[in-house]
């Protein structure tokens, strides 16, 4: 058993003879114990890549759900392009091929001094290194009238699962000629292009099944990801079906009446929807707060080179919960952050320095089934901050032809197949 105290003693021993450290740890039956909370893009990837780098490290993954449903591609389900189960993933590769211990429970508390995690099943798990990949929680109370009961009437569908299925049912039940209203939050939030891909694919569904219906986006900001490309794509595929109202034009929703399916904007305008989708303000998943790693804004400051918390030692926080700007809060980034954290932790447990960090992001968005766009970034750590590599990245060209858009749509599906395979071992259907 490795407690924090004998870790300190080991640290002192390592100071004298650095190479002796891994042997001492192995003498205790393990090359170290890593506990990971959250089995999404970040956590599942970290588990796999720690095991790939050093199979002797004991890795325990704590995840409340037996099957994980991704936000990426949930918009394709909402648009009628995919079955719900096609965005669900399980943990057989991690447990079977890589020997990860899977505990299906909710992590309820973290004691950073004692190096323990308390679970909903009453167990306490000890760690040498902890990775939190908790994703987002809805910041209930940040938007007047929008609470958990309201979300049953006006879903957020921003954590894939029952909420996503509820929104799909509502869209299916809506009469032709109805109005779909999406309220989009201010930055930062999970998946910056997500709200705009969502309205695109809802517009696709309307075009096929409810051609007289309209879409209104009420936005709490004046600019959004890939805006020029989205706007041109909407015009080209859906004419005037989609209307976007930004912050300066009174787009910011300040109050929700979920029973009436009404929202009120900053200057008192009331909009009534037939289907109301509120993408609300967000914060890091609650376990991050319990671990004491969040800041006053509800997100987690990290050291870029390792994604270790700036506030509590031996806790690494990856994915949407972390402050990693200019990297967006995307599943793609969470996966690459999981790999960097894995490399850093494996190195640290062996008494070595972390290799230089490197991350990329590619966010594909579908405007229609044959119309894809993308944004790319390549990132490195400079002075322990995340920095985009100069000259890298950018969005799809504005003047691309239909073939280019089609290929990016096909690559979007190729990307989803690859990342789901890389993260969970899911083999595409």
């Amino acid at each position: 058993m490795i407690t924090r105290r004998n870790m300190l003693a080991l640290g002192a021993a390592a100071f004298v003879a650095p190479l002796a450290m891994p042997n001492i740890l192995r003498a205790q039956g393990s090359a170290g114990r890593v506990v990971i909370v959250g089995g999404g893009f970040g956590g599942a990837t970290a588990a796999k890549y720690i095991k790939r780098r050093n199979p002797d490290i004991d890795v325990t993954l704590i995840e409340a759900q037996e099957r994980f449903y991704t936000c990426p591609f949930s918009n394709l389900y909402l648009g009628g392009l995919r079955e719900f189960e096609s965005i669900g993933h399980s943990y057989e590769e991690l447990t079977g091929e890589y020997g990860v211990n899977l505990v299906t429970a909710l992590a309820e508390d973290v004691d950073g001094d004692a190096h323990t995690v308390t679970l909903s099943n009453g167990e306490t798990v000890e760690y040498d290194k902890l990775i939190l990949s908790p994703g987002i929680d809805i910041n209930w109370g940040a938007l007047e009238g929008y609470d958990e009961a309201a979300a049953e009437l006006a879903p957020h569908a921003w954590k894939a699962g029952a909420q996503t299925q509820l929104l799909r049912r509502q869209l299916e039940e809506m009469e032709d000629g109805g109005l779909f209203v999406l309220s989009a939050p201010a930055d930062p939030f999970r998946c910056p292009p997500g709200p705009y891909e969502r309205v695109s694919l809802v517009a696709h569904y309307f075009k096929e099944h409810k051609p007289n219906s309209k879409i209104l986006i009420l936005d709490s900001k004046d600019a959004f990801s890939k805006q020029g490309l989205f706007t041109a794509g909407w015009q080209s595929l859906y004419g005037d079906t989609i209307e976007w109202v930004g912050l300066s034009d009174d787009g910011r929703v300040v109050r929700v009446d979920a029973e009436a399916l009404e929202v009120e904007t900053e200057f008192g305008m009331v909009h009534r929807a037939n289907v109301l989708n509120v993408v609300p303000p967000q914060k890091a998943g609650f376990i991050a707060e319990r671990a004491g790693v969040t800041n006053e804004g509800g997100w987690v400051p990290i050291k870029a080179s390792t994604f270790e918390s700036r506030q509590v030692a031996d806790i690494h926080v990856i994915g949407d919960a972390a402050i990693a700007s200019p990297m967006p809060k995307s599943g793609f980034c969470a996966n690459t952050q999981g790999k960097v954290a894995a490399a850093a932790i494996v190195a640290s447990l062996a008494g070595n320095e972390a290799p230089a960090a490197s991350w990329t992001n590619t966010c594909y968005s579908l405007i229609g089934p044959d119309y894809g766009i993308s944004v790319v970034g390549v990132y490195e750590a400079v002075d322990d901050e995340v920095v985009q590599v100069e000259g890298s990245g950018g969005v799809s060209p504005a003047d691309a032809d239909a073939d280019f858009r089609l290929r990016e749509a096909q690559y979007a599906v190729g990307w989803y197949d690859a990342i789901a395979n890389d993260t969970w071992g899911t083999v595409p259907a």
Partner: protein, 105 residues
Amino acid sequence: MFSKHFRRGVVVAAMLAAFAGPASALSEDEVSVLAGTCANCHGTDGRSPGAIPAIAGQDYDILREQLLAFKAGEVEGATIMTRHATGYTDEELDALARYFSEIEP
């Protein structure tokens, strides 16, 4: 400010001076971290499960030329790879080509 490019540049220069021959300044660990991000689209170890080309076990020279051509913006009809390749030094692209060429397809 010590970016990885700066640091690696110094190391490359030092190694060239010492050995007077081409040598990679990148450790195996560093290359594996760089390569980790490729898996998100090209599959774990570059073995693609879907529509995006596999890169595992491809010829080193072809991979290297292709990556450098992406970086130079010389690949007709390229979608995202130019935007990726411009994020790496030529040495890094060379190391990535080597890394994936040595993986069993």
